[in-house]
Symmetry: C2
Subunit: 279 residues, 2 copies
Amino acid sequence: MIEMLINGSATTTLDARDRGLHYGDGLFETIAVRDGSPARWDAHMQRLALGCQRLAIPAIDASLLAGEAMRLCAGVERGVLKIIITRGGGGRGYRAPAMDAVRPTRIVALHSWPDYPDIFWTEGVSVRICATRLGHNPLLAGIKHLNRLEQVLARSEWDDPGVVEGLMLDQDGNVIEGTMTNLFIVRDGRLRTPDVSQCGVAGVMRGWILDAARGLGIACEIGAVTLEDIAFAEEVFLCNCLISVWPVREIEGKRFEVDGAVTRRIVSKLRYAAMSRQR
Amino acid sequence: MIEMLINGSATTTLDARDRGLHYGDGLFETIAVRDGSPARWDAHMQRLALGCQRLAIPAIDASLLAGEAMRLCAGVERGVLKIIITRGGGGRGYRAPAMDAVRPTRIVALHSWPDYPDIFWTEGVSVRICATRLGHNPLLAGIKHLNRLEQVLARSEWDDPGVVEGLMLDQDGNVIEGTMTNLFIVRDGRLRTPDVSQCGVAGVMRGWILDAARGLGIACEIGAVTLEDIAFAEEVFLCNCLISVWPVREIEGKRFEVDGAVTRRIVSKLRYAAMSRQR
């Protein structure tokens, strides 16, 4: 089984002069693989294209990437596909080669499915508040770039396997996201998710849920989420493309309803969508 | 001539699963090479050690690194040595391996000396103000980590070869540094350099100049530098370990004295230190 393709070749070694290593000058996508196919491919490609545009990396040939993804996913019942696109090689120094001289590096790698226990979905997860905060940078917010030290530091804050995720605040003290998930809260029956225009990642699953909520007629807003909003929330859940949705059972001692009405409607819609795809 | 050593081996290829690529989970140093030796080695090693401590990467064996550096520098009259230390390999996910399981990756690479024209030192340089701003993060400020997209974006803002450097402001509008240099201003005869406790890099040359100013009895402070401070400055200069000091001739149309008294004293002290080393 091939585990990694770099620019189309089956290899796991990279030129150490790549700007992805030197500056984190690139982007990534983490994609669920089900029954031999990458899920939500188009949404991932859209975000990747937006990231390339934002960083002025030449657009990636999506059909080429799709072919490579399918090659790795063939016969894989469940897995994780990680795609990394970097600005490629370049001399020493921050200055990037001119756009028409850039030869992006394309890494497509298959990883095993993370074996989270079923109770994360059925009984919800326990979450902490991280001390590591997210710096503001509107130019980098939303996209999934390779500058991830804030997440690495935040994830290093705890070892307790009973704590499944950590919430990250921005420098103003607003709650933005989990280290690897987006956050939704339900307060006064309304769904709310933090604004990611200053920092944070606009997750593909977050986007799907925002659309789904609109379709279901659930009042939904993107805006500031404070710790007080969380303290008064009726339901809280986390999402990403691997886990779909985890209800939050508890945040630093404060407990939430796991099987709340709004969370249930979103999860039902997700299940229905998954079944529709399988048909 | 060997150009790169990775973990002691002459190679230019890296395992693509390295956390340096995936998250920018590592540090670097850029060191001037003169007459076969890396300059200001101890100061670079001190900052690298501080960075490792901050990111909880096991301390690097400095004598091992020194041996590798000397191997690359042998016979090199002028060059640039770049050292990259990453947290090494690891599975998918932000969570780092336990400290005792971390095997850092050590990359030592030799680059050619950048051929800046002499007039940058004698007549000063022209500088712009970048639109790309630095996000605040005290945990990452000061150290030279691999998350450098802000610098890449800032450096991509201009193409004009007549503009040599761009100044970066933080999200509050304070001036912090150049894309690849630290900044000093002289106002009312006092030397001042921006505080880098929220963002920016604590450059090795910046540290040397702060010490030198103290030794020379020049009043010197670390603090906020606003655009207004710059507008009223008598002298402005940039520094890093490759260029030492470039006087700033002009910032966005505002002109400064290139051969100012304070800059001249610092540059003289630098020249004297360089001569002393050669003896």
